[in-house]
Symmetry: D2
Subunit: 110 residues, 4 copies
Protein backbone atom coordinates (compact mmCIF):
# COMPACT_ATOMS: atom_id res chain seq x y z
CA UNK A 1 0.00 0.00 0.00
CA UNK A 2 1.06 3.60 -0.53
CA UNK A 3 -0.47 5.62 2.29
CA UNK A 4 2.45 7.74 3.46
CA UNK A 5 2.88 7.93 7.21
CA UNK A 6 -0.42 6.07 7.72
CA UNK A 7 0.77 2.87 6.04
CA UNK A 8 2.05 0.84 8.97
CA UNK A 9 -0.77 1.89 11.29
CA UNK A 10 -3.50 1.06 8.75
CA UNK A 11 -1.93 -2.37 8.30
CA UNK A 12 -1.57 -2.90 12.06
CA UNK A 13 -5.24 -1.99 12.56
CA UNK A 14 -6.42 -4.38 9.85
CA UNK A 15 -4.28 -7.24 11.17
CA UNK A 16 -5.44 -6.58 14.73
CA UNK A 17 -9.10 -6.52 13.66
CA UNK A 18 -8.75 -9.89 11.95
CA UNK A 19 -7.02 -11.46 14.97
CA UNK A 20 -9.69 -10.08 17.31
CA UNK A 21 -12.50 -11.43 15.13
CA UNK A 22 -10.80 -14.82 15.04
CA UNK A 23 -10.03 -14.81 18.76
CA UNK A 24 -13.67 -14.07 19.66
CA UNK A 25 -14.86 -16.91 17.43
CA UNK A 26 -12.26 -19.31 18.84
CA UNK A 27 -13.00 -18.31 22.45
CA UNK A 28 -16.64 -19.20 21.86
CA UNK A 29 -15.52 -22.74 20.98
CA UNK A 30 -13.44 -23.25 24.12
CA UNK A 31 -14.62 -25.71 26.79
CA UNK A 32 -14.70 -23.00 29.43
CA UNK A 33 -16.39 -20.13 27.58
CA UNK A 34 -17.16 -18.29 30.82
CA UNK A 35 -13.45 -17.84 31.47
CA UNK A 36 -13.14 -16.20 28.03
CA UNK A 37 -16.14 -13.85 28.39
CA UNK A 38 -14.09 -10.72 29.01
CA UNK A 39 -11.75 -11.63 26.16
CA UNK A 40 -14.67 -12.04 23.74
CA UNK A 41 -16.22 -8.78 24.91
CA UNK A 42 -13.05 -6.78 24.29
CA UNK A 43 -12.25 -8.60 21.01
CA UNK A 44 -15.60 -7.48 19.59
CA UNK A 45 -15.01 -3.83 20.41
CA UNK A 46 -11.36 -3.90 19.38
CA UNK A 47 -12.08 -5.36 15.94
CA UNK A 48 -14.69 -2.69 15.30
CA UNK A 49 -12.69 0.35 16.36
CA UNK A 50 -9.56 -0.90 14.57
CA UNK A 51 -11.45 -1.09 11.27
CA UNK A 52 -12.87 2.41 11.75
CA UNK A 53 -9.44 3.78 12.63
CA UNK A 54 -8.01 2.20 9.47
CA UNK A 55 -10.80 3.76 7.43
CA UNK A 56 -10.34 7.23 8.95
CA UNK A 57 -6.60 7.09 8.27
CA UNK A 58 -7.14 5.95 4.69
CA UNK A 59 -9.54 8.89 4.30
CA UNK A 60 -6.86 11.21 5.75
CA UNK A 61 -9.47 12.34 8.27
CA UNK A 62 -8.73 15.23 10.63
CA UNK A 63 -10.18 12.95 13.33
CA UNK A 64 -7.85 10.03 12.61
CA UNK A 65 -5.37 10.93 15.36
CA UNK A 66 -8.04 11.23 18.04
CA UNK A 67 -9.65 7.98 16.96
CA UNK A 68 -6.23 6.29 17.01
CA UNK A 69 -5.71 7.48 20.59
CA UNK A 70 -8.96 5.82 21.68
CA UNK A 71 -8.21 2.77 19.54
CA UNK A 72 -4.88 2.40 21.34
CA UNK A 73 -6.70 2.27 24.70
CA UNK A 74 -9.03 -0.47 23.48
CA UNK A 75 -6.11 -2.41 21.96
CA UNK A 76 -4.13 -2.23 25.21
CA UNK A 77 -7.08 -3.47 27.27
CA UNK A 78 -7.70 -6.28 24.78
CA UNK A 79 -4.00 -7.21 24.73
CA UNK A 80 -3.85 -7.37 28.53
CA UNK A 81 -6.91 -9.62 28.69
CA UNK A 82 -5.85 -11.91 25.83
CA UNK A 83 -2.39 -12.27 27.34
CA UNK A 84 -3.92 -13.97 30.41
CA UNK A 85 -5.07 -16.95 28.35
CA UNK A 86 -2.83 -19.75 27.06
CA UNK A 87 -4.68 -20.53 23.85
CA UNK A 88 -2.72 -19.73 20.68
CA UNK A 89 -5.53 -17.56 19.33
CA UNK A 90 -5.36 -15.45 22.49
CA UNK A 91 -1.57 -15.17 22.54
CA UNK A 92 -1.46 -14.22 18.85
CA UNK A 93 -4.28 -11.75 19.34
CA UNK A 94 -2.49 -10.19 22.32
CA UNK A 95 0.61 -9.69 20.17
CA UNK A 96 -1.43 -8.12 17.31
CA UNK A 97 -3.19 -5.84 19.79
CA UNK A 98 0.10 -4.72 21.36
CA UNK A 99 1.58 -3.87 17.96
CA UNK A 100 -1.56 -2.02 16.96
CA UNK A 101 -1.59 -0.07 20.23
CA UNK A 102 2.00 1.03 19.62
CA UNK A 103 1.25 2.04 16.04
CA UNK A 104 -1.86 3.97 17.14
CA UNK A 105 0.00 5.78 19.92
CA UNK A 106 2.69 6.82 17.44
CA UNK A 107 -0.03 7.99 15.04
CA UNK A 108 -1.94 9.89 17.73
CA UNK A 109 1.18 11.90 18.59
CA UNK A 110 2.12 12.53 14.95
Amino acid sequence: MDFGHYKSCIEACHVCAAYCDRCATSCLQEDDVKMMAECIRLDMQCAQICRLAASFMAQDSEYANQLCRLCADVCKACADECAKHEADHCQQCAEACRRCAEACIAMASH
Copy 2:
Protein backbone atom coordinates in the same frame (compact mmCIF):
# COMPACT_ATOMS: atom_id res chain seq x y z
CA MET B 1 -1.58 -13.66 9.66
CA ASP B 2 -2.59 -17.27 10.13
CA PHE B 3 -6.13 -17.63 8.82
CA GLY B 4 -5.92 -20.78 6.72
CA HIS B 5 -7.62 -20.58 3.34
CA TYR B 6 -9.07 -17.16 4.25
CA LYS B 7 -5.68 -15.47 4.59
CA SER B 8 -5.16 -14.01 1.12
CA CYS B 9 -8.79 -12.96 0.72
CA ILE B 10 -8.90 -11.19 4.10
CA GLU B 11 -5.75 -9.31 3.15
CA ALA B 12 -7.08 -8.45 -0.32
CA CYS B 13 -10.30 -7.11 1.22
CA HIS B 14 -8.43 -4.95 3.73
CA VAL B 15 -6.08 -3.56 1.07
CA CYS B 16 -9.01 -2.89 -1.27
CA ALA B 17 -10.95 -1.10 1.47
CA ALA B 18 -8.02 1.19 2.21
CA TYR B 19 -7.50 2.01 -1.49
CA CYS B 20 -11.22 2.72 -1.93
CA ASP B 21 -11.28 5.04 1.11
CA ARG B 22 -8.24 6.87 -0.20
CA CYS B 23 -9.59 7.03 -3.76
CA ALA B 24 -12.88 8.57 -2.60
CA THR B 25 -11.02 11.20 -0.57
CA SER B 26 -8.66 11.96 -3.45
CA CYS B 27 -11.49 12.14 -6.01
CA LEU B 28 -13.17 14.78 -3.82
CA GLN B 29 -10.03 16.93 -4.20
CA GLU B 30 -9.92 16.71 -8.01
CA ASP B 31 -10.70 19.82 -10.09
CA ASP B 32 -13.56 18.06 -11.86
CA VAL B 33 -15.34 16.33 -8.96
CA LYS B 34 -18.48 15.77 -11.04
CA MET B 35 -16.55 13.49 -13.38
CA MET B 36 -15.53 11.41 -10.34
CA ALA B 37 -19.00 11.18 -8.75
CA GLU B 38 -19.66 7.59 -9.79
CA CYS B 39 -16.17 6.58 -8.69
CA ILE B 40 -16.70 8.13 -5.24
CA ARG B 41 -20.12 6.48 -4.93
CA LEU B 42 -18.76 3.01 -5.64
CA ASP B 43 -15.61 3.53 -3.56
CA MET B 44 -17.75 4.21 -0.50
CA GLN B 45 -19.76 1.02 -0.89
CA CYS B 46 -16.75 -1.08 -1.85
CA ALA B 47 -14.74 -0.05 1.22
CA GLN B 48 -17.64 -0.91 3.49
CA ILE B 49 -18.48 -4.33 2.08
CA CYS B 50 -14.80 -5.31 1.85
CA ARG B 51 -14.33 -4.66 5.56
CA LEU B 52 -17.44 -6.67 6.43
CA ALA B 53 -16.32 -9.53 4.19
CA ALA B 54 -12.92 -9.53 5.92
CA SER B 55 -14.63 -9.62 9.31
CA PHE B 56 -16.98 -12.47 8.34
CA MET B 57 -14.05 -14.52 7.03
CA ALA B 58 -12.00 -13.86 10.18
CA GLN B 59 -15.03 -15.03 12.17
CA ASP B 60 -15.23 -18.17 9.98
CA SER B 61 -18.86 -17.25 9.33
CA GLU B 62 -21.12 -19.65 7.42
CA TYR B 63 -22.20 -16.55 5.47
CA ALA B 64 -18.68 -15.53 4.44
CA ASN B 65 -18.87 -17.18 1.02
CA GLN B 66 -22.17 -15.54 0.11
CA LEU B 67 -20.92 -12.17 1.30
CA CYS B 68 -17.72 -12.63 -0.72
CA ARG B 69 -19.80 -13.31 -3.83
CA LEU B 70 -21.63 -9.99 -3.41
CA CYS B 71 -18.39 -8.26 -2.45
CA ALA B 72 -16.84 -9.47 -5.72
CA ASP B 73 -19.67 -7.83 -7.68
CA VAL B 74 -19.13 -4.50 -5.93
CA CYS B 75 -15.35 -4.76 -6.42
CA LYS B 76 -15.74 -5.45 -10.13
CA ALA B 77 -18.06 -2.48 -10.63
CA CYS B 78 -15.71 -0.25 -8.67
CA ALA B 79 -12.67 -1.52 -10.60
CA ASP B 80 -14.39 -0.85 -13.93
CA GLU B 81 -15.29 2.70 -12.93
CA CYS B 82 -11.90 3.52 -11.39
CA ALA B 83 -10.12 2.17 -14.48
CA LYS B 84 -11.76 4.90 -16.60
CA HIS B 85 -9.86 7.64 -14.76
CA GLU B 86 -6.19 8.49 -15.24
CA ALA B 87 -5.40 9.62 -11.70
CA ASP B 88 -2.94 7.39 -9.85
CA HIS B 89 -5.34 6.92 -6.94
CA CYS B 90 -7.96 5.60 -9.39
CA GLN B 91 -5.59 3.31 -11.25
CA GLN B 92 -4.20 1.88 -8.02
CA CYS B 93 -7.69 1.46 -6.62
CA ALA B 94 -8.83 -0.30 -9.81
CA GLU B 95 -5.96 -2.77 -9.42
CA ALA B 96 -6.75 -3.40 -5.71
CA CYS B 97 -10.43 -3.90 -6.58
CA ARG B 98 -9.60 -6.37 -9.36
CA ARG B 99 -7.38 -8.43 -7.07
CA CYS B 100 -10.00 -8.39 -4.36
CA ALA B 101 -12.73 -9.43 -6.81
CA GLU B 102 -10.62 -12.40 -7.89
CA ALA B 103 -9.89 -13.41 -4.30
CA CYS B 104 -13.58 -13.11 -3.38
CA ILE B 105 -14.71 -15.15 -6.39
CA ALA B 106 -12.26 -17.89 -5.45
CA MET B 107 -13.52 -17.76 -1.86
CA ALA B 108 -17.18 -17.82 -2.89
CA SER B 109 -16.64 -21.02 -4.85
CA HIS B 110 -14.55 -22.66 -2.13
Copy 3:
Protein backbone atom coordinates in the same frame (compact mmCIF):
# COMPACT_ATOMS: atom_id res chain seq x y z
CA MET C 1 -36.77 9.76 8.62
CA ASP C 2 -37.68 10.37 5.00
CA PHE C 3 -36.22 7.51 3.00
CA GLY C 4 -39.09 6.45 0.78
CA HIS C 5 -39.64 2.70 0.50
CA TYR C 6 -36.42 2.07 2.47
CA LYS C 7 -37.66 3.77 5.65
CA SER C 8 -39.09 0.86 7.62
CA CYS C 9 -36.32 -1.55 6.62
CA ILE C 10 -33.54 0.90 7.57
CA GLU C 11 -35.20 1.35 10.95
CA ALA C 12 -35.71 -2.39 11.43
CA CYS C 13 -32.03 -3.01 10.62
CA HIS C 14 -30.84 -0.38 13.09
CA VAL C 15 -33.12 -1.65 15.86
CA CYS C 16 -32.05 -5.25 15.19
CA ALA C 17 -28.37 -4.29 15.27
CA ALA C 18 -28.77 -2.60 18.65
CA TYR C 19 -30.64 -5.59 20.11
CA CYS C 20 -28.02 -8.00 18.79
CA ASP C 21 -25.18 -5.94 20.27
CA ARG C 22 -26.98 -5.81 23.61
CA CYS C 23 -27.87 -9.52 23.52
CA ALA C 24 -24.25 -10.53 22.89
CA THR C 25 -23.07 -8.38 25.79
CA SER C 26 -25.80 -9.72 28.09
CA CYS C 27 -25.16 -13.35 27.07
CA LEU C 28 -21.51 -12.90 28.09
CA GLN C 29 -22.73 -12.01 31.60
CA GLU C 30 -24.94 -15.10 31.99
CA ASP C 31 -23.93 -17.82 34.45
CA ASP C 32 -23.84 -20.44 31.71
CA VAL C 33 -22.00 -18.62 28.94
CA LYS C 34 -21.28 -21.85 27.07
CA MET C 35 -24.99 -22.38 26.50
CA MET C 36 -25.12 -18.91 24.89
CA ALA C 37 -22.07 -19.33 22.65
CA GLU C 38 -24.02 -19.86 19.43
CA CYS C 39 -26.30 -16.94 20.31
CA ILE C 40 -23.31 -14.62 20.85
CA ARG C 41 -21.69 -15.80 17.61
CA LEU C 42 -24.78 -15.04 15.53
CA ASP C 43 -25.53 -11.78 17.36
CA MET C 44 -22.10 -10.45 16.36
CA GLN C 45 -22.60 -11.21 12.68
CA CYS C 46 -26.21 -10.06 12.66
CA ALA C 47 -25.41 -6.65 14.18
CA GLN C 48 -22.69 -6.07 11.60
CA ILE C 49 -24.63 -7.04 8.48
CA CYS C 50 -27.74 -5.14 9.66
CA ARG C 51 -25.74 -1.92 9.95
CA LEU C 52 -24.23 -2.41 6.50
CA ALA C 53 -27.64 -3.16 5.00
CA ALA C 54 -29.02 0.03 6.57
CA SER C 55 -26.11 2.00 5.13
CA PHE C 56 -26.50 0.54 1.62
CA MET C 57 -30.23 1.34 1.65
CA ALA C 58 -29.61 4.89 2.86
CA GLN C 59 -27.10 5.23 0.00
CA ASP C 60 -29.73 3.89 -2.42
CA SER C 61 -27.17 1.29 -3.50
CA GLU C 62 -27.90 -0.98 -6.45
CA TYR C 63 -26.62 -3.78 -4.17
CA ALA C 64 -29.02 -3.01 -1.31
CA ASN C 65 -31.55 -5.66 -2.32
CA GLN C 66 -28.97 -8.44 -2.58
CA LEU C 67 -27.44 -7.44 0.74
CA CYS C 68 -30.90 -7.40 2.33
CA ARG C 69 -31.51 -10.95 1.07
CA LEU C 70 -28.36 -12.17 2.82
CA CYS C 71 -29.13 -10.03 5.88
CA ALA C 72 -32.53 -11.73 6.12
CA ASP C 73 -30.83 -15.14 6.27
CA VAL C 74 -28.55 -14.03 9.09
CA CYS C 75 -31.49 -12.45 10.95
CA LYS C 76 -33.56 -15.62 10.66
CA ALA C 77 -30.74 -17.81 11.98
CA CYS C 78 -30.12 -15.37 14.84
CA ALA C 79 -33.85 -15.20 15.65
CA ASP C 80 -34.12 -18.99 15.75
CA GLU C 81 -31.15 -19.29 18.11
CA CYS C 82 -32.20 -16.41 20.39
CA ALA C 83 -35.73 -17.81 20.61
CA LYS C 84 -34.34 -20.96 22.33
CA HIS C 85 -33.23 -18.97 25.37
CA GLU C 86 -35.53 -17.64 28.11
CA ALA C 87 -33.60 -14.49 29.00
CA ASP C 88 -35.40 -11.26 28.18
CA HIS C 89 -32.49 -9.96 26.10
CA CYS C 90 -32.69 -13.11 23.96
CA GLN C 91 -36.47 -13.02 23.55
CA GLN C 92 -36.43 -9.31 22.65
CA CYS C 93 -33.55 -9.86 20.26
CA ALA C 94 -35.37 -12.76 18.61
CA GLU C 95 -38.37 -10.51 18.02
CA ALA C 96 -36.22 -7.70 16.58
CA CYS C 97 -34.44 -10.21 14.32
CA ARG C 98 -37.74 -11.65 13.07
CA ARG C 99 -39.09 -8.20 12.21
CA CYS C 100 -35.86 -7.28 10.48
CA ALA C 101 -35.85 -10.53 8.50
CA GLU C 102 -39.38 -9.79 7.27
CA ALA C 103 -38.49 -6.23 6.33
CA CYS C 104 -35.36 -7.40 4.50
CA ILE C 105 -37.23 -10.10 2.60
CA ALA C 106 -39.80 -7.54 1.49
CA MET C 107 -36.97 -5.20 0.44
CA ALA C 108 -35.09 -7.95 -1.43
CA SER C 109 -38.15 -8.69 -3.54
CA HIS C 110 -38.95 -5.01 -4.17
Copy 4:
Protein backbone atom coordinates in the same frame (compact mmCIF):
# COMPACT_ATOMS: atom_id res chain seq x y z
CA MET D 1 -35.95 -0.07 22.19
CA ASP D 2 -35.10 -0.66 25.85
CA PHE D 3 -31.54 0.49 26.36
CA GLY D 4 -31.77 2.56 29.51
CA HIS D 5 -29.96 5.89 29.41
CA TYR D 6 -28.43 4.99 26.03
CA LYS D 7 -31.77 4.79 24.22
CA SER D 8 -32.13 8.28 22.78
CA CYS D 9 -28.45 8.58 21.86
CA ILE D 10 -28.39 5.22 20.06
CA GLU D 11 -31.45 6.30 18.09
CA ALA D 12 -29.97 9.73 17.32
CA CYS D 13 -26.77 8.08 16.07
CA HIS D 14 -28.64 5.68 13.81
CA VAL D 15 -30.86 8.42 12.38
CA CYS D 16 -27.84 10.67 11.84
CA ALA D 17 -25.93 7.89 10.08
CA ALA D 18 -28.81 7.28 7.68
CA TYR D 19 -29.16 10.99 6.87
CA CYS D 20 -25.42 11.32 6.30
CA ASP D 21 -25.38 8.32 3.96
CA ARG D 22 -28.31 9.75 2.05
CA CYS D 23 -26.85 13.25 1.97
CA ALA D 24 -23.54 11.99 0.53
CA THR D 25 -25.38 10.07 -2.19
CA SER D 26 -27.62 13.04 -3.00
CA CYS D 27 -24.69 15.50 -3.04
CA LEU D 28 -23.00 13.30 -5.67
CA GLN D 29 -26.05 13.80 -7.90
CA GLU D 30 -26.04 17.61 -7.64
CA ASP D 31 -25.10 19.70 -10.68
CA ASP D 32 -22.24 21.35 -8.83
CA VAL D 33 -20.62 18.39 -7.07
CA LYS D 34 -17.44 20.34 -6.40
CA MET D 35 -19.35 22.72 -4.13
CA MET D 36 -20.54 19.68 -2.12
CA ALA D 37 -17.13 17.98 -1.80
CA GLU D 38 -16.56 18.96 1.82
CA CYS D 39 -20.12 17.95 2.69
CA ILE D 40 -19.65 14.51 1.13
CA ARG D 41 -16.30 14.06 2.87
CA LEU D 42 -17.76 14.79 6.32
CA ASP D 43 -20.95 12.81 5.66
CA MET D 44 -18.88 9.70 5.00
CA GLN D 45 -16.97 9.98 8.27
CA CYS D 46 -20.02 11.00 10.29
CA ALA D 47 -22.10 8.02 9.14
CA GLN D 48 -19.30 5.65 10.07
CA ILE D 49 -18.52 6.98 13.53
CA CYS D 50 -22.23 7.33 14.40
CA ARG D 51 -22.80 3.63 13.67
CA LEU D 52 -19.80 2.63 15.78
CA ALA D 53 -20.94 4.88 18.64
CA ALA D 54 -24.40 3.27 18.51
CA SER D 55 -22.80 -0.17 18.61
CA PHE D 56 -20.51 0.68 21.55
CA MET D 57 -23.46 2.07 23.50
CA ALA D 58 -25.60 -0.99 22.75
CA GLN D 59 -22.66 -3.11 23.98
CA ASP D 60 -22.49 -0.97 27.15
CA SER D 61 -18.82 -0.42 26.38
CA GLU D 62 -16.59 1.37 28.87
CA TYR D 63 -15.34 3.32 25.82
CA ALA D 64 -18.79 4.49 24.72
CA ASN D 65 -18.54 7.88 26.42
CA GLN D 66 -15.16 8.69 24.89
CA LEU D 67 -16.33 7.59 21.47
CA CYS D 68 -19.47 9.71 21.84
CA ARG D 69 -17.31 12.75 22.63
CA LEU D 70 -15.39 12.30 19.38
CA CYS D 71 -18.60 11.47 17.52
CA ALA D 72 -20.07 14.78 18.73
CA ASP D 73 -17.13 16.66 17.20
CA VAL D 74 -17.62 14.98 13.83
CA CYS D 75 -21.39 15.57 13.98
CA LYS D 76 -20.91 19.28 14.73
CA ALA D 77 -18.47 19.73 11.86
CA CYS D 78 -20.82 17.87 9.51
CA ALA D 79 -23.82 19.90 10.71
CA ASP D 80 -21.98 23.18 10.14
CA GLU D 81 -20.99 22.18 6.60
CA CYS D 82 -24.40 20.77 5.65
CA ALA D 83 -26.12 23.90 6.98
CA LYS D 84 -24.33 25.98 4.33
CA HIS D 85 -26.19 24.26 1.51
CA GLU D 86 -29.82 24.85 0.55
CA ALA D 87 -30.69 21.37 -0.66
CA ASP D 88 -33.27 19.58 1.47
CA HIS D 89 -30.99 16.57 1.99
CA CYS D 90 -28.33 18.91 3.41
CA GLN D 91 -30.72 20.83 5.65
CA GLN D 92 -32.27 17.63 7.00
CA CYS D 93 -28.82 16.11 7.50
CA ALA D 94 -27.65 19.23 9.34
CA GLU D 95 -30.61 18.91 11.72
CA ALA D 96 -29.97 15.19 12.32
CA CYS D 97 -26.28 15.91 12.96
CA ARG D 98 -27.10 18.69 15.43
CA ARG D 99 -29.45 16.47 17.39
CA CYS D 100 -26.92 13.65 17.41
CA ALA D 101 -24.15 16.00 18.56
CA GLU D 102 -26.32 17.12 21.48
CA ALA D 103 -27.20 13.55 22.42
CA CYS D 104 -23.54 12.50 22.21
CA ILE D 105 -22.38 15.44 24.33
CA ALA D 106 -24.96 14.56 26.97
CA MET D 107 -23.80 10.93 26.84
CA ALA D 108 -20.12 11.84 27.04
CA SER D 109 -20.71 13.78 30.25
CA HIS D 110 -22.94 11.09 31.77
